[in-house]
C-alpha cells in the first residue's frame, strides 16, 4: 500500500439490494436507469444477468457498491426462492402509480421481507411511472403514509425520464450500516472457500 498519495483511497463497501414488485411495474427499468442511465420502452426481462452492480460515493472515505438482484421473472407465479432474500441489506419495492393493484401487491412483498429478510434491512417503497400523472390511480399521500407507518423510505420516480432514480439509491446508501458491513466482510474472508480458484492439485490422472 502506498502511503504517498495525499488522499487515502476510498473504502469500497458492498451491499446486496433486491428488487421486488409485481411484473411490469418497471423494476428492471429503474435499475437500468440507475446503472446504465438508459431507458427502453419495450424492455424484455433481463437475460443472462446474475446481477448488476453500481457504485455511489457516500463521502470521500466511503464508496458504496450495490449488488442489485433482479427477480428474473420468478415473482410472476409466486416462485421467488428464499435465497433471493438471504443476506440482503436493502430492498426496493416497486409499484406502478397507474395501477392500484400493484400497491396491494407491494404491501404483500413488504410483509414477506419483514418475515424472511434480516431485521436491519433498509426498505424503500417506490412508485414508478410518475410521468403518467394523468393516469394516476394511487394517491401520493396515501402511499407515503403507508411507508411512514412501516418505517420505509418513500419515493415517486420515473424510470422513463430518470426523475428521482438516483435519489432512491443515495438515500438508501445513507441508511446502510457501513461499519458493521466492513467488519462482517473481513470475518467472512477468513474462512470462505473459493471454488473459482483453479485446483492446486496437479496430480496426474490415470484415467483421462
Amino acid at each position: 500500500m502506498s502511503q504517498e498519495s495525499s488522499r487515502p483511497q476510498p473504502r469500497l463497501v458492498q451491499f446486496k439490494l433486491v428488487l421486488l414488485g409485481e411484473s411490469a411495474v418497471g423494476k428492471s427499468s429503474i435499475v437500468h436507469r440507475f446503472v446504465k442511465d438508459s431507458f427502453d420502452d419495450y424492455r424484455e426481462s433481463t437475460i443472462g444477468a446474475a446481477f448488476l452492480t453500481q457504485t455511489i460515493e457516500l463521502n470521500p472515505e466511503i464508496t458504496i457498491k450495490f449488488e442489485i438482484w433482479d427477480t428474473a421473472g420468478q415473482e410472476r407465479y409466486k416462485s421467488l426462492a428464499p435465497m433471493y432474500y438471504r443476506n440482503s441489506n436493502a430492498a426496493v419495492v416497486v409499484y406502478d402509480i397507474t395501477q392500484e393493484s400493484s400497491l396491494e401487491r407491494a404491501k404483500i412483498w413488504i410483509k414477506e421481507l419483514q418475515r424472511q429478510a434480516s431485521q436491519d434491512i433498509v426498505i424503500a417503497l417506490v412508485g414508478n411511472k410518475a410521468d403518467l400523472e394523468e393516469e394516476r390511480q394511487v394517491d401520493n399521500e396515501h402511499a407515503k403514509l403507508l411507508a411512514e407507518e412501516e418505517g420505509l423510505l418513500f419515493f415517486e420516480v420515473s424510470a422513463k425520464s430518470g426523475d428521482g432514480i438516483k435519489t432512491i439509491f443515495q438515500n438508501i446508501a445513507e441508511k446502510l450500516p457501513v461499519e458493521a458491513q466492513l467488519n462482517k466482510s473481513q470475518q467472512k474472508l477468513a474462512n470462505k472457500v473459493n471454488l473459482q480458484r483453479p485446483s492446486t492439485n496437479n496430480q496426474a490422472s490415470c484415467c483421462v
Binding site: 446503472v35 446504465k36 446474475a50 448488476l52 428474473a72 496426474a204 490415470c206 484415467c207
Partner: protein
C-alpha cells in the same frame, strides 16, 4: 391459452434444477413446475416448523431448540467432493455467485470402536495410528502407485491392467490386509458394500483419485457444504434457469399428463394458473419419480434419521464442528455401511451450540430400522428420541430411458454420501434429451459495472 415449450420440468429437486439451468443457458424454452410451494422437493432444507409438520404433525418444537428459521435441515445428507463433477458444474455456470461453501472439517472411519481420521497421503498413512507399522509401508506404496499412475506410461502400471484385474487383485499386489482394504474401499472409494472388490479396478482407482485430489484441494477433508444447507443448490440453479428465460411455477399441481394418441408420446400437462385452466405443451418432459409413479420401479429401501443435537455431542477429538463418519458394514456384521453426517452452526444450518446428525443406511433384514442404526446413535450419545426424526424412503429409478415417449425421469437420491451419482444421472439425462454429451464451457459473467 395454450403455450408451447421446448422442455417442461416437474419437481425442483437438484437434478431437475441443474438440467433446467443447463438447458435454459443453451437457449431452450423451459417451463418448470413444482406441486409444492417451496423449492427442492427431496433435496430441500427445512426449517424447524417445516420439519415438525413433515415428521411430527400436530407437535410443535420445544423452546430449547431456538428459532425455527435458524435451522436448515436437509432431508437427504450429502456433501460435495471438492474436485467432483457438481463443483465443476457450479463453477462453470457461476452459480457459485449465489451459494457460499465451507469445508467439512473431517472425514472419519469408525475402527476399533472409535472414529479415526482417514489417511489420504503417503505422509498421513505413515503417521496414522490406525495402522500397524508394516502395513503402513504397504499402504504408502499403494497410494504412491495411485498417485503416479499414468494410462500411457506402462512403467507406472506395475504389471496391472485396470480394465481386467479386479480391485482385490490390485490390493493383493500391494499385500494389503483386509482391514486396510476395507477402509480404502469404503472410506476413500466410498463404496457402501463389498461388491466392488470383484469388479475391474479402474472405477475404484478413479474414485480414490477423486477422494485424494479433493482433500488436496482445500485440506482437512474432501468435502464441501453450502452455507444454509443443501437446499440452496436447487434454488441457485433455478435462478440460473430463470435468468436465461426459464418460467417457474411453484405450488402448481399437475391436473393431467397428456399424451399423443397415435404413438403414446408426451404432449403436455394440464395445470391451473390463478384459477384458470391452462395446457402447456412440449415434446420432452423431465420429472422426478413422484410425478410418474407408474413409470418407475423401486430399487431399495433407505433409512435416514435426523437428530437435532447439542454441539457437545459431536464425537470428534480435535473439536471439529462438522464431519462425516463411516461405520463400515464389516464392523457391524452388515452388508451396507452406515453414514453419519454432522453439521452445525459453522455452516449456518443450526443455532449456536447446536448441531444436526443425519444417519443413513440401506435397510437389511427384519430388525426394526432404528435398531439397525443403534451403533451410530451410541456414537453421538443419543439416548432420548425426542429430537430425532425418522424417515424411510424408497429409492426409485425409471423403467424406460424416455427416448420413445419423451418422458425423462430422474433417479431418487441414493445412499451415497456425495453427489457423484446425482451428477452421473444429470449427465445421462442431458445426453438422452439433447443427443450430445454435456460439455461445460465457462459462462461469461452476466454483469457489468458502471461508475456513477
Amino acid at each position: 391459452m395454450d403455450e408451447e415449450y421446448d422442455v417442461i420440468v416437474l419437481g425442483t429437486g437438484l437434478t431437475e434444477c441443474v438440467l433446467s439451468g443447463l438447458l435454459s443457458v443453451e437457449g431452450k424454452k423451459i417451463l418448470h413446475i413444482d406441486r409444492q410451494d417451496y423449492y427442492g422437493g427431496e433435496s430441500a432444507s427445512l426449517n424447524l416448523q417445516q420439519l415438525y409438520e413433515k415428521f411430527k404433525p400436530g407437535k410443535s418444537p420445544d423452546e430449547s431448540l431456538g428459532r425455527s428459521r435458524d435451522w436448515c435441515v436437509d432431508l437427504i445428507p450429502k456433501f460435495l467432493m471438492a474436485n467432483g463433477e457438481l463443483t465443476n458444474i457450479l463453477t462453470h455456470t457461476n452459480v457459485t455467485r449465489y451459494v457460499e461453501f465451507k469445508q467439512i472439517e473431517g472425514s472419519f472411519v469408525h475402527r476399533y470402536g472409535k472414529p479415526s481420521k482417514v489417511p489420504t497421503t503417503e505422509y498421513e498413512a505413515i503417521s496414522s495410528s490406525m495402522i500397524g507399522l508394516f502395513e503402513k509401508r504397504r499402504l504408502r506404496n499403494f497410494l504412491l502407485f495411485v498417485a503416479s499412475y499414468k494410462d500411457d506410461e506402462i512403467s507406472t502400471h506395475k504389471g496391472l491392467n485396470l480394465d481386467i484385474d479386479t480391485v482385490d487383485t490390485v490390493f493383493n499386489k500391494f499385500g494389503l490386509e483386509d482391514g486396510t482394504k476395507n477402509f480404502i474401499g469404503h472410506a476413500m472409494a466410498l463404496y457402501d458394500n463389498d461388491d466392488y472388490l470383484n469388479q475391474p479396478a479402474r472405477e475404484t482407482i478413479e474414485r480414490i483419485i477423486l477422494y485424494v485430489g479433493s482433500v488436496a484441494r482445500f485440506g482437512k477433508s474432501p468435502y464441501l457444504y453450502p452455507l444454509y444447507g443443501l437446499g440452496e443448490l436447487p434454488q441457485g440453479f433455478s435462478r440460473l434457469s430463470a435468468i436465461y428465460g426459464g418460467t417457474f411455477m411453484l405450488g402448481t399441481p399437475i391436473k393431467e399428463i397428456l399424451y399423443n394418441e397415435e404413438d403414446g408420446s408426451f404432449k403436455g400437462v394440464r395445470i391451473d394458473v390463478d384459477g384458470e385452466e391452462k395446457i402447456a405443451k412440449s415434446k420432452q418432459i423431465i420429472a422426478d419419480p413422484t410425478y410418474f409413479p407408474d413409470l418407475v420401479k423401486n430399487t431399495s429401501k433407505l433409512i435416514r434419521t435426523i437428530s437435532l443435537i447439542d454441539q457437545s455431542q459431536l464425537p470428534f477429538k480435535s473439536n471439529e464442528n462438522s464431519g462425516q463418519i463411516i461405520i463400515t458394514g464389516k464392523e457391524l456384521n452388515r452388508k451396507n455401511d452406515i453414514y453419519i453426517a454432522l453439521i452445525g452452526s459453522d455452516h449456518k444450518v443450526s443455532p449456536q451450540g447446536k448441531a444436526i446428525a443425519i444417519i443413513s443406511s440401506i435397510i437389511e433384514g427384519d430388525k426394526p430400522p432404528h435398531i439397525q442404526l443403534e451403533e451410530a446413535f451410541k456414537l453421538i450419545k443419543i439416548k432420548s428420541f425426542d429430537h430425532t426424526f425418522m424417515g424411510l424412503s424408497d429409492l426409485y429409478e425409471p423403467l424406460n430411458d424416455g427416448l420413445k415417449n419423451g418422458v425423462f425421469i430422474s433417479k431418487s437420491y441414493d445412499a451415497s454420501s456425495h453427489f457423484e451419482s446425482v451428477t452421473n444421472d444429470i449427465k445421462d439425462i442431458y445426453f438422452r434429451i439433447t443427443g450430445k454429451p454435456l460439455k461445460l464451457t465457462k459462462l461469461e459473467e452476466g454483469e457489468f459495472n458502471a461508475v456513477a
